[in-house]
């Protein structure tokens, strides 16, 4: 597949990126510009036919990020209410992922400086945590409790108010 860099209009230009595991992806320049890192590379003329290598982003999350940026770049400014709603729906569906992918997206969005996606992934993670007991959260994220029972008890005591729950506060339901 030939890189479509010979087009005239800047906005139509396709940017190639390469995942850590060597897979190639393409997205419009406007989409790539949503990533701070890619934008700087493009500005510094580092975007060539070989593609920009992204050392810490694997193909799986990169495919999603390309998706995200392409969708958001196409609808960046002057949104109508319907378009904004549609974008919101897209985001909601987009972020319905398992915890492994969520982790990949958190790392990749942070690394690539895609602010909107970072926020989306962080919000999603927070939504998974909120209103749950520590035990439930450990289970969701596979966190291993490395405290001794005594240590654990001590921490709970420090923040006694947060652990005694008669019923979950209604705003968390």
């Amino acid at each position: 597949m030939a890189a479509a860099t010979d087009d005239a209009g800047d906005s139509n230009e396709m940017i190639r990126v390469v995942s850590s595991d060597g897979e190639h992806f393409e997205m419009p320049e406007a989409a790539a510009n949503l990533s701070l890192v890619l934008r700087h590379m493009i500005e510094d003329d580092c975007a060539d036919a070989a593609g920009i290598p992204l050392a810490v982003v694997a193909a799986k999350p990169l495919a999603k990020i390309v998706d995200y940026c392409t969708k958001h770049a196409a609808k960046s400014s002057g949104l109508t209410i319907e378009e904004a709603e549609e974008l919101k729906r897209f985001d909601a569906e987009f972020i319905e992922v398992d915890t492994d992918m969520l982790y990949d997206l958190l790392v990749a969005a942070d690394f690539m400086g895609v602010e909107g996606l970072s926020k989306l992934a962080v919000q999603r993670t927070a939504d998974l945590i909120k209103g749950k007991t520590p035990e439930q959260n450990r289970e969701t994220f596979g966190i291993v409790n490395d405290f001794t029972p005594e240590e654990e008890e001590e921490i709970c005591k420090e923040n006694e108010w947060a652990f005694q729950i008669t019923k979950p506060p209604s705003r968390l339901c």
Partner: protein, 662 residues
């Protein structure tokens, strides 16, 4: 992929502190954040440096409709909430003390709210301090020393936004709550609701609030009410020397604020003064002010000098008497967001509202609250309203004290003064039960004779929206007047009053009224149920008939029986009406853009139908000729008009008899 899938390997803990803290920042409550400290050693220290702490008692559980609940159950719930709130009080104390003693003790956002949040207006404002829908039993547990500690923490450690909400203690006797206004050079937003605490104000010092952009203070008493020194200090603290960046200032529910002198920074854009019952003197210099709200302040005896040359939006129920008011900037106002006008006035002078209307000569957006009273010896105020040729957008809330049937005539007189309006919106609030028709012997009607014969000319009026409509003579008269006097009108929406619908339903009364179509068509656009659980229209929309868009269509005429049992099953068209068709019962079914099926008894010679189709279109059908012997329509015309009113396709119906033959 489902998210409930459990992670086999702990990846999240490998994220760096910045990302994890960002996650904690997005957690809605400090409880959630505190609980992460016990997850594992990796998470242990994050709670002590989390950037945002939000402590809140949470949502109101008060359900207004839930009257029948068992008292023991209510008591049990209340008790549970009280225990939880008390625990939160000690939680806030413990957390802030621990944080203050730590190393990274700055907080970007600190919110402490002991007021239950509610989708409803959580504080009913009918009384000065207001009252809550929920019992706030923990009011008595919050002491001056708690408040002092929280304010002190905020003063020292909050660098972004600080909110403290202590519920008002209107039902706790003999309780004294004291507080001192905190000063912070780093806070950007401060919202203090201080539970009717007696407030002391520190002496002003330069840059006391040098980063502050938003300040809200409510529910306080100034110590030693009427103490000029305190009022003076508060004014100074909020002036440009101490608050050089302030953009929004709001002072609400403050007792003892007798004088306010504000030399605002040029950045100040919005000033709200609400429920300041003791305010006698107001002196405001605000060169950049764009919005001023002065509401519920009982200002008739007060003196004011206001200089706000860039003012755009004004909202007030009342202002000082014009002879005691110097208001530079009133001519710049474009939008009057609230102004209360009583239709009758005691005394010789005009009320301040008239002064405002006369002096705001650039207003294009006017929102009036009209209170209609009727006392023969009082002065008729609507007569004093000047012509308002700059107004293009008129919004009125109207309330009639008794069922005098004067809403129509009063509004017509007011609307006639705004002859260049383009948008008109009327919200009728009828509080009294009243007779529908003036022909009833007991009607206390005060309708002026023949008012509906007047002509009002509203050449630019394009859109009218009326809600709270009751089909009484005067209100119908107003609608007719608007339809005949507005040649450019293209849409009018009339929504029936909910209480009226309910009452008719209870009394098993048929809602039946008639408004001519003039040059358009009425189509129902929202639905409810009547006493027999039949669908009835609750909202009607009038649109002007579009000319020259007639297309010929084919119509099939069927009897009601064959329509329901035969035709409908087999064809898959959209049923658009199954009620009235002229004087007979029958149905209309839309097959596609060019086919309409009429079903019904055959005594209709010629009729018109307005049909909503699935594509949000109104098709106006006119049956020219039909073959009675064979129950068939021979020829019909359809005008296709564009509109977007169909929200529920299955329920879209046609009001045939209403649109037939104006």
């Amino acid at each position: 992929m489902r998210t409930s899938a459990v992670a086999a390997v702990d990846l999240i803990s490998e994220l760096n502190d910045d990302v994890l803290l960002l996650i904690l920042r997005f957690l809605p409550s400090a409880t959630d954040v505190a609980r992460t400290s016990v997850l594992s050693k990796r998470w242990r220290h994050l709670w002590s440096i989390a950037p945002c702490l939000r402590f809140a008692v949470g949502q109101s559980t008060c359900d207004i409709s839930d009257d029948d609940e068992d008292e023991d159950e209510v008591e049990r719930k209340e008790h549970g909430r009280h225990v939880a709130a008390r625990r939160l009080i000690s939680g806030v104390d413990a957390s802030l003390a621990r944080r203050a003693a730590g190393e990274r003790n700055d907080v970007e956002v600190l919110e402490i709210s002991f007021v239950y949040s509610s989708p409803y207006d959580r504080l009913n404002k009918s009384e000065f301090w207001g009252w809550y829908f929920d019992a706030h039993r923990h009011v008595a547990d919050i002491t001056s020393s708690h408040v002092a500690a929280w304010l002190r923490f905020a003063e020292r450690h909050v660098k972004g936004s600080f909110t403290l909400e202590v519920p008002a203690d209107y039902d706790v006797e003999g309780r004294v709550l004291l507080a001192e206004l905190p000063c912070s050079a780093r806070a950007e937003t401060m919202r203090l609701t201080l539970g009717c605490a007696t407030l002391t104000v520190p002496a002003a010092r330069t840059d006391a609030f040098c980063a502050l952009t938003d300040f809200h203070l409510s529910h306080v008493k100034l110590a030693a009410a009427g103490d000029d020194e305190l009022c003076h200090r508060l004014g100074l603290l909020l002036s440009s020397s101490c608050c050089p960046q302030l953009r929004r200032l709001s002072l609400k529910h403050i007792v003892g604020l007798t004088a306010l002198r504000l030399e605002a920074a040029v950045t100040l854009e919005e000033l709200r003064l609400v429920y300041l019952p003791d305010l006698l003197q107001l002196d405001v210099d605000a060169p950049g002010l764009r919005l001023l709200r002065v509401d519920h302040c009982e200002l008739q005896g007060s003196v004011a000098r206001i200089s706000a040359p860039r003012l755009e939006v004004l909202a007030c129920d009342d202002l000082m008497h014009p002879s005691r008011l110097l208001f530079d900037g009133v001519v710049a106002v474009r939008h009057i967001k609230k102004l209360v006008l009583y239709s009758f006035h005691h005394g010789q002078d005009d009320p301040t509202a008239i002064w405002v209307l006369k002096n705001c000569t650039a207003v294009d957006h006017l929102e009036l609250e009209l209170m209609i009273g009727f006392i023969p010896e009082y002065k008729d105020i609507i007569k004093e309203v000047p012509n308002l040729p700059t107004v293009t957008n008129l919004k009125m809330t109207v309330c009639e004290e008794m069922g005098w049937h004067t809403i129509g005539s009063s509004l017509a007189r007011l609307i006639a003064k705004c002859n260049r309006i383009e948008h008109l919106s009327i919200n009728i609030k009828s509080e009294q039960d009243t007779y529908d028709y003036c022909s009833y012997p007991f009607c206390i009607c005060r309708q002026p004779k023949g008012w509906e014969d007047q002509m009002i000319s509203l050449e630019h009026l394009r859109m009218v929206d009326i809600c709270g409509f009751r089909p009484f003579d005067d209100q119908i008269g107003l609608v007719q007047l608007l339809l005949t006097g507005s040649p450019a009108l293209d849409t009018m929406i009339v929504e029936l009053d909910g209480d009226y619908l309910l009452k008719s339903q209870k009394e098993s009364k048929l809602i039946d009224f008639y408004i001519p179509c003039y040059e358009g068509i009425w189509v129902p656009c929202a639905w409810g149920h009547d006493y027999e659980d039949e669908l009835i229209a609750t909202k009607y929309k009038w649109t002007r008939k579009k000319q020259n868009r007639g297309i010929k269509i084919n119509l099939v005429w069927l009897t009601a029986v064959s329509f329901f049992y035969g035709y409908r099953e087999g064809t898959g068209g959209t049923l658009v009406d199954n009620r009235g068709l002229g004087d007979s019962s029958g149905s209309v079914m839309l097959m596609d853009d060019t086919h309409i099926v009429f079903g019904g008894r055959s005594n209709i010679r010629s009729t018109e139908a307005a049909v909503d189709d699935a594509n949000d279109k109104v098709i106006h059908a006119h049956v020219d000729a039909c073959d009675d012997a064979n129950d068939k329509v021979i020829h019909a015309h359809v005008d296709a008009c564009e509109s977007s009113i169909v929200t529920r396709r299955e329920e879209a119906m046609v009001e045939l008899y209403k649109s037939s033959m104006s």
